[in-house]
């Protein structure tokens, strides 16, 4: 059980590293889908465990919703946005890929040291979960600021959200149902709005490069 959760949490972390190494928009979406699938499996495992223990079915419902929203719906929405915009490969980075991976590695170490200063965590397992999932949040943030194009930033936002969800599920074994539902709708509407926004930016500026947003238009 513990070993399985640990493996899943580190696979989620690994998928966010793979995301940073990608430069095709389609593979951004594919990696995000993979990460969400891992997340759904993670919540499924915890759900089955909590049914056995307390008989609560909440987390299994969360697992099903995660699958429906994050593995099926959001990637589909993003794909339609991408095909509308017709933008395929990210060409100019602020930093090249190996350096950004090494920076993410640094973020991981930073998380490790900052988590190990919390003295109240006695369980090494929980510490490992925290390190892995907080690193996912930070890597999502880094991904957001390291990509120039709007689609990369949407994916970064979603990865951050995945990290938050992983942290919550792993450390508390499930938040109250209503909070989870609220989060899902939050993310879904955010993606919808951002998708439309990207489309609009593309229409007005002929590019989804966010640096162009600074240009005055008269």
């Amino acid at each position: 059980m513990d070993s399985c959760l640990n493996l899943l949490s580190i696979l989620i972390l690994l998928s966010s590293f793979i995301l940073v190494a990608n430069k095709r928009v389609i593979s951004y979406i594919r990696t995000f889908r993979l990460q969400s699938l891992l997340l759904a499996i993670l919540s499924g495992v915890i759900g089955i465990y909590s049914i056995e223990k307390t008989g609560e079915i909440d987390i299994l419902i969360v697992c099903v919703i995660t699958f429906a929203v994050k593995v099926v719906l959001i990637p589909k929405l993003l794909k339609t946005t991408v095909t509308k915009v017709g933008y395929k490969v990210e060409k100019d980075f602020f930093l090249n890929i190996p350096i950004s991976i090494l920076i993410c590695c640094g973020l991981f170490i930073l998380t490790y040291f900052s988590v190990s200063t919390i003295n109240d965590i006695k369980d090494a397992q929980v510490k490992a979960y925290l390190v892995n999932s907080i690193s996912v949040i930070l890597i999502g943030l880094f991904f957001m600021i390291s990509r120039k194009k709007a689609i990369g930033q949407i994916i970064g936002f979603l990865v951050m959200e995945n990290g938050l969800f992983t942290t919550a599920v792993l450390t508390t074994h499930g938040m109250p149902m209503i909070v989870e539902l609220g989060l899902f709708f939050d993310v879904l509407t955010a993606v919808l709005i951002m998708g439309i926004l990207v489309f609009r930016i593309n229409e007005n500026f002929d590019s989804i490069d966010i640096n162009k947003l600074r240009n005055l238009k008269g």
Binding site: S3, N6, I10, L14, I97, P98, I101, F108, A124
Partner: protein, 319 residues
């Protein structure tokens, strides 16, 4: 006395199996393309044929060119002696022999790159510079993943590492080992010139790396170079399967010879399966541009590094 017997057995197994791995990989690749492909034992025949042929050495080549095949072959063979094929064999071992394996293979590579430059052909120089770049990119991964296992088993000798990892049972499925396993797998793909970085089937293409350095060789020298490359591949695969797929604890025969025989058969099966997996990895990937290889190296480094940090957080054996 036992030691000598062990060394002889180890040598014979290494020398006999080495060319088989390439044969299996080629066969699986051919089957995936609905071709019949060369027979599994093709490389043995190639080496036999090459040994009978004359050697041609360029007039401009120095002594390095003619010495390199021997150095390449012998360094691979010594590295092979240090990686026991079965837990029941201890051919050669001393503290820190993992580092010795890595750097004796690096010595062979050093002479190979020198010989690539030596004849002055443009392809050779190109291949040499690429090979050095790739090896320097992939070396950190290899060291970090091996050191992680070394930290867990509190020894840097391959035999002790194998003993520790085969004594932990199902704990082998912990993230530490899985990450190190995947990292070493990528290392094997890069070090043995497999498809994501180099296509072993090409001759005279601008993208070749390993083949470019062997271009000037012929006859016996070429046979030795090919055999050396096959041995190096087998050494790395042995390191991978014997560390992370320890099945020796399953063998419970009382008879020592029978147990040894079964464990060697098991080892051959493991190597064959690893070869099939390498072939599958090759089939499913495309050759990367040379400038994308650092990304692959970074990913493999991250894999080993995640394993390394996991060891510090949860520890290796318990958890």
């Amino acid at each position: 006395m036992n030691k000598i017997a062990y060394i002889v057995v180890q040598l014979i197994i290494m020398l006999l199996i080495a060319p088989l791995v390439s044969g299996i990989i080629k066969k699986v690749k051919a089957l995936s393309q609905k071709r019949k492909g060369p027979p599994v034992f093709q490389l043995y025949r190639d080496i036999y044929k090459l040994i009978k042929k004359d050697t041609v050495v360029s007039k401009t080549a120095s002594w390095i060119f003619s010495v390199t095949p021997y150095i390449n072959f012998v360094t691979a063979l010594i590295a092979g002696l240090l990686v026991p094929v079965s837990l029941k064999l201890t051919p050669l071992n001393f503290g820190g022999d993992v580092i010795f394996i890595i750097y004796i293979l690096a010595l062979g590579r050093f002479f190979m790159t020198l010989s690539g430059v030596d004849t002055g052909s443009t392809f050779g120089g190109m291949g040499s510079s690429r090979e050095m770049a790739l090896s320097s990119l992939i070396e950190p991964t290899l060291l970090v993943s091996v050191f992680t296992v070394g930290l867990i088993s509190k020894s840097l000798s391959v035999h002790n590492m194998m003993e520790t990892l085969s004594s932990i049972g199902t704990n082998i499925f912990q993230p530490v080992y899985i990450m190190c396993f995947l990292a070493l797998f990528i290392v094997i793909l890069v070090e043995t010139a497999r498809i994501p970085v180099d296509d072993p089937a090409t001759h005279l293409e601008l993208t070749m790396v390993h083949e470019a350095m062997l271009l000037e060789y012929s006859g016996k020298n070429l046979a030795l170079m090919e055999y050396g490359a096959a041995l190096k591949q087998l050494v790395l695969i042995t390191l991978l399967v014997n560390l992370f797929v320890p099945l020796d604890s399953l063998i419970t025969f009382n008879n020592a010879f029978l147990a040894l025989g079964v464990s060697i058969l098991l080892y051959i099966a493991k190597v064959a399966i690893a070869a099939v997996f390498i072939a599958i990895a090759e089939i499913n990937t495309v050759k990367l541009r040379l400038f994308s290889v650092p990304n692959l190296a970074a990913i493999s480094f991250i894999l080993s590094f995640l394993g390394f940090v996991q060891y510090f957080i949860v520890g290796g054996i318990h958890g």
